[in-house]
């Protein structure tokens, strides 16, 4: 208790200094796993609204790839993907919400970094989406590479690491640039397509969605090949409950692994008859995996049946099944040239 208070004061001081990100760990005792089990509902922190990742649809239902990860964990825990209470969180509040125990896990397009892993008492559990900062330019500028952008005016959103990465990149390349800073993303995108600046920089997924949905003519714009930052986005849990950490990590891996072995929400029942020992282990036909996690052996079956595999979630939310139409890119399976490489379920 004393420690919690001391921590709280430390956090208070940190906030006063304008930085939540440096606070020490609250190290809350008590097993999150047991708490979630007893409560019968998962409390999952998501973005207040980021299309494709977590946003309410016209009926107020949460949709998105981050949201699907929450649902997958609920499916693994309870065999019911709807047992989730979503907490929409702003970027300032997200980490403290997890630290304070207000939520059980955070799945809110949060970049995995050393600071977040080590210094503030949180644990990343895997990568849901590999993103990175890029540049969008009009084709008529005839620019083929970011290295030719010297002297350009650049539209950028304020208060994000994007701004910092941009400055770092141009300094490293010894180029000048004129930043045009916007608070709101909508304004920024509108300004860029109105010709206010030469370049629009943001995470590649944002660039692609902006070009697909808001450009007067998407073919007039091109995303340059350079990606200047690494933004692996994934779910986080609190320090102090390794079993819970494992459940969240392996729920995500189960989605990825299911895609690798071709198990989808549609064919999962047929797959129960499969002779592939890997598939048998994943689906709990060969028992043991779920038990090791403290779950039902049907845990992965439930995830795949109720939420779908990673590929299904990707296509539905950000890929070809959505208006964003993002290519798989880094987010393809390792066997297809991407970075998705789930640890084996065995």
């Amino acid at each position: 208790m004393k420690k919690v208070k001391a921590t709280a004061f430390a956090v208070l001081a940190m906030v006063a200094a304008g930085s939540v990100g440096m606070a020490a760990s609250p190290a809350l005792a008590g097993a999150t796993f047991d708490a979630v089990k007893a409560r019968g509902i998962l409390q999952c922190g998501v973005n207040t609204a980021l299309g494709g990742f977590s946003a309410p649809d016209s009926k107020g239902e949460w949709q998105g790839i981050d949201v699907d990860v929450c649902r997958a964990v609920a499916a693994a825990m309870f065999g019911d993907a709807s047992k989730v209470r979503f907490s929409p969180l702003t970027s300032q509040a997200r980490l403290t919400a997890l630290q304070s125990g207000e939520i059980d896990m955070l799945s809110r397009n949060t970049t995995l970094t050393l600071q977040r892993d080590a210094a503030i008492g949180l644990n990343p559990t895997g990568v849901t989406f590999y993103d990175g900062q890029g540049f969008l330019v009009p084709k008529k500028l005839n620019v083929k590479s970011a290295k030719e952008l010297g002297g350009a005016t650049v539209c950028v959103q304020s208060g994000s690491t994007t701004e910092l990465n941009l400055a770092d990149y141009f300094r490293a390349q010894k180029m000048e640039f004129k930043p045009v800073v916007f608070e709101k993303l909508e304004e920024l995108v509108a300004a860029f397509f109105a010709g206010r600046c030469d370049v629009y920089t943001s995470d590649a997924s944002q660039l692609a969605s902006g070009r697909a949905l808001q450009a007067p003519n998407p073919d007039d714009y091109v995303i340059l090949p350079e990606i200047i930052s690494k933004e692996p986005l994934g779910p986080f849990v609190r320090h102090g409950d390794d079993q819970w950490h494992d459940v969240v990590r392996w729920s995500l891996f189960a989605m990825i692994e299911a895609e690798e072995y071709g198990i989808t929400s549609k064919n999962v029942d047929e797959m129960l008859k499969s002779n592939d020992p890997n598939v048998k282990r994943i689906l709990g036909v060969t028992p043991g995996m779920g038990k090791a996690l403290g779950l039902d052996d049907k845990w992965a079956y439930n995830i795949i049946k109720l939420v779908g595999n990673y590929g299904e979630s990707y296509e539905r939310n950000v890929g070809s099944g959505s208006k964003l139409n993002l290519p798989r890119g880094y987010n393809a399976q390792w066997s297809k040239g991407g970075l998705l490489y789930a640890w084996p379920i065995r």
């Binding site: 919690v4 208070k5 107020g60 702003t90 509040a93 509108a190």
Partner: protein, 368 residues
């Protein structure tokens, strides 16, 4: 008898300038001085320059009905009201379960009825307290449910207009008596009470609402032992009440100070106790004086509730923002902001109009 003045052609006077009708109105209001003429012409030009394109955008080229965004994107240069048609329930009711949204609708109507009843003079007695009690129970039952046949909806799913109204109404409703007590306390002769009130008011006024909300949602949970948490919405509501109370206190203090000393002395001379003096003589006059700043404050508080965006509560404004991120309907920010501005405007303008009427009705001597 005096001679009638001789009427000659030279003394003919021109007929008086017409003082009624549209020409006179224009002459008086729009072209009364060179500066006014210039302003009128400039404003006229501005209207001519902006109005036709706006009408063309908002009405002529607009897409009214369309199941998908494609028709809107095809009709370039026109507003996409189909977006509002698609998203109005998300904007108005946030994340409330779709099939149950008649409940927040009813709750909002009850809430508005409460406000209207509070505005009527014939309810200005003890009955108003009962009405509020009943209204509160009714709104809670509709929003939460869980008894009498309604399914339970936890308040993390509340949103949109009903939530904005709840935050604003109960924010101001509870802050008002609290603020009056603070104002009286600040003018008290008892040093301890006076110091406490001054400290509270200055502390709260010294920080922006956003930081209060932020503290309530981000910092407060860290002080509690694990497993114990006060509901996020309640925390926000309390922060709004605390904030509004400090400002109301200062507005009321302005009124208290404007009452001539003779009124206090007269009340004392009649042998009235402190509470009778305050309740019967001082406060009724003081509150009447402060109607204009008080209403400004209420309007400001109504709009300030949108700051709960910062802690991820889906009030009217945040629900609007959320509606903009749907990838299938991206890029219609202007339409949705116009829609939500109209809602805010209707409420704020009604409040302002009502306060003008109230002032006129209560004007009994102090008016200058």
């Amino acid at each position: 008898m005096t001679n009638a003045p001789e009427i000659t052609g030279e003394t003919d006077i021109a007929p008086p300038v017409s003082s009624t009708g549209i020409v006179a109105w224009m002459r008086e209001r729009l072209f009364s001085s060179p500066l006014n003429i210039i302003m009128t012409v400039l404003c006229g030009l501005l209207v001519i320059a902006t109005l036709p394109p706006f009408i063309e955008w908002a009405l002529i080229k607009a897409v009214w009905i369309s199941p998908t965004a494609d028709a809107c994107r095809a009709a370039r240069g026109g507003a996409c009201w189909a977006f509002i048609a698609e998203k109005h329930r998300l904007i108005l009711f946030g994340l409330y379960p779709y099939d149950e949204q008649w409940r927040p609708l009813l709750a909002a109507l009850v809430n508005i009825a409460l406000i209207v009843a509070s505005c009527m003079r014939r309810f200005w007695n003890i009955r108003l307290l009962y009405i509020w009690g009943i209204g509160l129970v009714l709104i809670s039952w509709l929003m939460w449910g869980g008894v009498l046949g309604l399914s339970y909806v936890e308040n993390t799913k509340w949103g949109g207009l009903p939530l904005t109204l709840i935050l604003a109404t109960f924010g101001v409703g509870f802050a008002f008596p609290f603020g009056i007590v603070l104002a009286l306390g600040r003018r008290s002769n008892m040093p301890a009470i006076k110091t406490l009130c001054i400290m509270y008011i200055e502390l709260i006024r010294g920080v922006p609402l956003i930081s209060l909300l932020f503290m309530s949602s981000v910092m407060l949970p860290l002080f509690f032992p694990e497993g114990f948490s006060i509901d996020k919405l309640l925390r926000a509501q309390i922060a709004i009440i605390m904030f509004a109370a400090a400002y109301i206190a200062e507005v009321v203090r302005g009124g208290l100070q404007a009452i001539p000393k003779g009124q206090y002395e007269a009340a004392d001379a009649l042998g009235l106790s402190y509470w009778k003096k305050t309740g019967l003589i001082i406060l009724p006059q003081a509150l009447k004086i402060v109607i204009p700043p008080m209403v400004s404050l209420f309007i400001a508080m109504f709009k300030d509730t949108s700051l709960v965006v910062i802690i991820g509560i889906f009030d009217l404004m945040n629900a609007t923002k959320a509606s903009l991120t749907d990838t299938a309907w991206k890029g219609f920010a202007v339409e949705s902001y116009i829609f939500v501005s109209i809602i805010y405007f209707v409420f704020c303008f009604s409040m302002s109009k009502y306060s003008q009427q109230l002032e006129a009705r209560l004007a009994t001597g102090h008016k200058r």
